[in-house]
Symmetry: C2
Subunit: 232 residues, 2 copies
DNA sequence: TAAGTTATACTGACTGGTTAGTTGGGTCAC
DNA sequence: GTGACCCAACTAACCAGTCAGTATAACTTA
């Protein structure tokens, strides 16, 4: 009689959420449709009614995961003016925009890459490649032309960013348990590690590790005057 | 008793090889014991006789994958003298020593990280953490103390190397098909991309992307006319 | 507007193919 | 013969996908 919930609040998104969680934790083969249904508080057949099947569900999840970030990167990098700022924007957008609070996305992406990306729908892949890698290519190209960036493979840059972030994220739990390797660290390093991951990556990418000559590092950290070097 | 494998040519290693291949391609859940047995030209029960089961087989594979490289890194980095050479040795060992011709290892590692590394046996993980990360920590620490390297998180450095390599490797097939994003690249970038991945990564890590004033980058080798720029 | 019809959203119970693991027996070197 | 090594065939469980059925909203028509 009285409707506790006339229409379901949003069956589809609860299915998607549960699917993302399960696929992220256990991978495509490891995830169970029954469990996804249970997590979504939905009858299994409902999933088949709405989406079609396990594979269709996974493809839907993949599209959502992979599509969501591309435009954000294009936009934010576009806003930045100098090549250096563009690199920073690139890193920052991936870390704090695309992947912020979405460990699940990272995990699914890692698994998908491990599998060679065979399951990624072609149009999604195409779109992603064009936008994200295109942005990276443009960024480096302009920087090189302007004499501001050293020539480097934009794809490699992209992969070092994404790969670095993904591996850092994925191993967070692991490292928390096994922090035996922390050993005695130089206080300057400890300090540096306190700044945000985005800043750290940007700094490494822009300035590298080599210190030239006698230039003292700003010991208080923060991304201030780190990359200032004189002649070799 | 006598030797390890007295009888068959080498049943155990053919099982392991087949297992590595299958786990790499399909993950733990996706791999089929029957198929591993078939690939190894062995009856399925033989696997159970020698190893015990699917999970034990996977653990064995994991140990082999993860253990194999640690000592190599420690040794090669130890041989190098300056911090810069150590960084180069670190990158080069991971790429050309640990992972050379072993895409399977990379894939298994990626999946395992995506899953949070829950399956990695504790002693293996401990050993790996101590050796590999310990080496990275030592490397950066010494470099910083000597005033030759900028302070940076050794873990992040490690993850950018491994993550970058893993993602580059994993997406090779993918990128070959979708090379639409290659666009018009500056010839200097194209040239840079011709040098080995190990050199490229080392260069980025050591020198970064930023070009300072009128200074040549001192390219590691071939990539000659790289650093010639005017001011903007 | 009441009765009849169709469309949409969902469910509980079932099924059949797949797959990890077992069993009991066979071979061969010593 | 005896024990390490290997096999073909079997089994029990699991799990993706199906189906017949319920409920209700949404039209249709007389």
């Amino acid at each position: 009689m009285v409707e506790e919930s006339s229409k379901s609040p949003d069956v589809l998104s609860s299915i998607m959420d549960a699917a993302i969680k399960n696929f992220a934790e256990k991978g495509y083969e490891g995830a169970r449709v029954d469990e996804i249904a249970r997590d979504a508080n939905v009858n299994k057949a409902t999933i088949y009614y709405h989406i079609g099947g396990k594979e269709a569900l996974y493809k839907a999840v993949l599209s959502r995961v992979l599509t969501s970030g591309a435009d954000m990167i294009v936009e934010n990098v576009g806003k930045a003016s100098t090549p250096e700022e563009k690199v920073a924007a690139y890193v920052d957008t991936i870390l704090n925009g695309v992947l912020a609070g979405r460990e699940d996305f990272t995990r699914i992406m890692m698994r998908e890459m491990a599998g060679g990306g065979a399951d990624i729908p072609h149009d999604v892949l195409d779109n992603m490649m064009r936008k994200i890698l295109g942005t990276a290519v443009g960024l480096v190209s302009v920087g090189v032309e302007q004499g501001k960036l050293a020539p480097a493979s934009p794809i490699l840059i992209h992969m070092m960013i994404v790969g670095g972030i993904a591996f850092m994220r994925a191993t967070e739990g692991l490292r928390a348990k096994h922090q035996g390797a922390t050993m005695e660290l130089d206080p300057r390093i400890v300090n540096e590690m306190k700044s945000g991951l985005s800043d750290q990556i940007t700094k490494i990418l822009l300035h590298g590790l080599t210190l030239r000559e006698e230039r003292k590092m700003n010991p208080t950290g923060e991304s201030s005057g780190v990359g200032k070097q004189q002649k070799p």
